[in-house]
């Protein structure tokens, strides 16, 4: 049974003005997240992903549909029960949302006080957590004295305080510079691998999905338009919005304007070969082209690596006798994806 399961979930907000239509932030979404996964949800701002993640810990209440987290219903349950459930779900935020009037120590201790832990338990747990995130020396500092990356690490320590099974990360790295982003992503990876915590990552940055997630769902207009293994979605995105996201990190097939520019600089026929691991190797493709007497030049593309699996698109300019090129392409098409660009 999945750890988090959403069935036909819809969330509408009241209309912005009198007489308007209600705003459908989440439109009939079904989603299963297994224990131990790092599940990425990507979409542009306004796609509904922040609302979606808040349905999981019931900070927002679903209008219809069923949400089950760790075997417990989240929809239509009294507040008291929800508060208990939230102890099992940590959350971190884009703007960190630390308690500014409290020290780092008291920020991390807060959820434990809410959970009614004893003084000794709190002492031990906060020490352990600050060690884990590498901020033991900042215990008595206030949030305003910390850098962005340090703030987010406090946020992570606070979210993990009550030893939750699930961590929700709402654009957790979007306010950070690239280097700090990677530091936080590494920490999140450790949270997943060392502590076995299931992570749901909301982001608009494909880079975050690429380095962190195992599964991904692409959201557009309140719907999930595509979901699956990160490798599958990256190497073969089916929907237009998925393709746009993938193209931000994967140099794939050239866009029409890029193609026009390539044509000006390169003679011959322009063909894109797509490789996924398991397909025939690049070397055999190049060998076969050479054997057929076709000259080729690599003009666009790249090979990507996702968690040890490679895929990519290479665009070649081919010159030589037309018949030889046709024969070679026909033969290669049986073994790998070939697309002639016209």
């Amino acid at each position: 049974m999945p750890l988090i399961s959403l069935q036909d979930v819809t969330k509408s907000f009241p209309p912005g003005r009198r007489g308007g239509d209600p705003v459908r932030a989440i439109d009939n979404v079904s989603l299963d997240i297994e224990a131990g996964e790092i599940y990425g949800i990507i979409g542009y701002s306004g796609a509904g992903k922040s609302t979606l993640v808040r349905l999981i810990n019931a900070l927002e209440k679903a209008t219809s549909g069923t949400i089950i987290v760790d075997g417990h219903q989240v929809t239509n349950v009294p507040d008291r029960q929800l508060r208990k459930l939230r102890l099992d779900i940590g959350m971190i935020f884009q703007q960190f949302n630390l308690f500014n009037a409290k020290t780092v120590w008291n920020n991390v201790a807060y959820p434990l006080r809410v959970a009614g832990k004893s003084r000794e338990e709190i002492q031990a747990r906060v020490t352990e957590l600050l060690d884990f995130v590498g901020l033991a020396d900042k215990a008595s500092n206030y949030p305003e004295q910390l850098s962005g990356g340090q703030k987010q690490r406090v946020g992570i320590a606070r979210a993990l305080a009550t030893s939750p099974k699930i961590l929700l990360a709402d654009e957790a790295t979007s306010a950070l510079d690239p280097e700090t982003t990677h530091e936080v992503l590494r920490l999140l990876r450790r949270v997943n691998e060392e502590l076995g915590i299931t992570i749901v990552v909301i982001t608009h940055e494909m880079d975050v999905i690429q380095t962190l997630a195992t599964k991904v769902a692409v959201m557009d207009g309140g719907r999930i338009v595509e979901q699956g293994d990160v490798f599958d979605v990256f190497s073969n995105p089916r929907q237009a919005s998925s393709q746009r996201f993938v193209s931000t990190v994967v140099r794939g097939i050239p866009a029409p304007d890029e193609l026009a520019a390539l044509r000006e600089r390169h003679a011959g026929r322009i063909v894109t070969f797509s490789f996924r691991d398991g397909d025939s190797s690049q070397a055999s493709v190049f060998l076969e082209l050479a054997a057929a007497g076709v000259e080729f030049e690599l003009i666009y593309g790249g090979i990507n690596d996702i968690r040890g699996r490679a895929f990519g698109h290479l665009t070649l300019a081919l010159t030589g006798p037309g018949a030889s090129i046709d024969a070679a392409l026909a033969s290669l098409a049986a073994r790998t994806t070939v697309k002639e660009l016209s």
Binding site: K84, Q95, K102, A115, A159
Partner: protein, 219 residues
């Protein structure tokens, strides 16, 4: 000038009475205003107790009572003061009416200062399972403490101002002293003596408020 020296015992009594009236009014009005302000903040749409009917009602009540000039409010609320404190005149009646009037003003200051707390911080507290009352007491008020202290300092000064009309219903204090012995007896020296005491009082309290607020804000 000599009359100021002659009247100095009365001046000290008046100073004491002003502190007495303002102190109690600040306590009761401050408490009432804090509750009313928290009520306004929490029932606003989208807040932790979002309830547009309650918010609308509170909002209208505050809007009706807050702008009434205090000297008029004092007269209008006299029957209520009599019913609650047993007397319509004197310092007790003044404290009651002043607390009531101040509560409406303070509620707006409290509401404004609470609104400066980032909604995300409240959301973070909700996400760790904190209940509403706990959020109000352990997150909302501490997060807004610095500006709240400055707000209450501002209110202290406003209360000194409002308490000056206490004499009209038989109350005492520096305002009454200045009118009775200074203005009505054509003795500007006496009036100025009261003014100077008020200035010193206000300076001292503002200084204290600034120190406390700086401590709360850590800057």
């Amino acid at each position: 000038m000599d009359s100021v020296i002659d009247l100095s015992p009365e001046l000290w009594v008046a100073t004491y009475e002003t502190l007495y009236i303002v102190g109690f009014s600040l306590f009761f009005g401050g408490l009432g205003g804090l509750l009313l302000g928290i009520g306004l903040y929490t029932t606003r749409a989208g807040s932790i107790l979002g309830n547009s009917a309650v918010f609308g009602t509170l909002n209208i009540i505050v809007n009706i009572f807050r702008p009434i000039p205090f000297i008029i409010f004092l007269a209008a609320a006299q029957p209520l003061a009599r019913a609650v404190t047993g007397t319509g005149i004197g310092n007790s009646a003044i404290i009651f009416t002043l607390s009531l009037a101040a509560a409406f003003g303070i509620s707006r200051i409290v509401e404004q200062n609470l609104l400066t707390v980032q909604p995300g911080v409240i959301e973070a507290a909700r996400s760790v399972g904190a209940g509403r009352l706990r959020i109000i007491l352990t997150i909302l008020i501490p997060e807004a403490l610095g500006p709240l202290i400055l707000g209450y300092t501002f209110i202290f000064v406003a209360l000194v101002d409002m308490s000056a009309v206490a004499g009209y219903v038989g109350g005492g204090g520096l305002g009454n002293f200045a009118i009775q012995y200074g203005y009505r007896q054509f003795n500007p020296w006496v009036t100025w003596a009261a003014v100077i005491v008020i200035i010193l009082l206000v300076q001292a309290v503002q200084f204290l408020g600034n120190v406390l607020a700086r401590k709360a804000l850590r800057r």
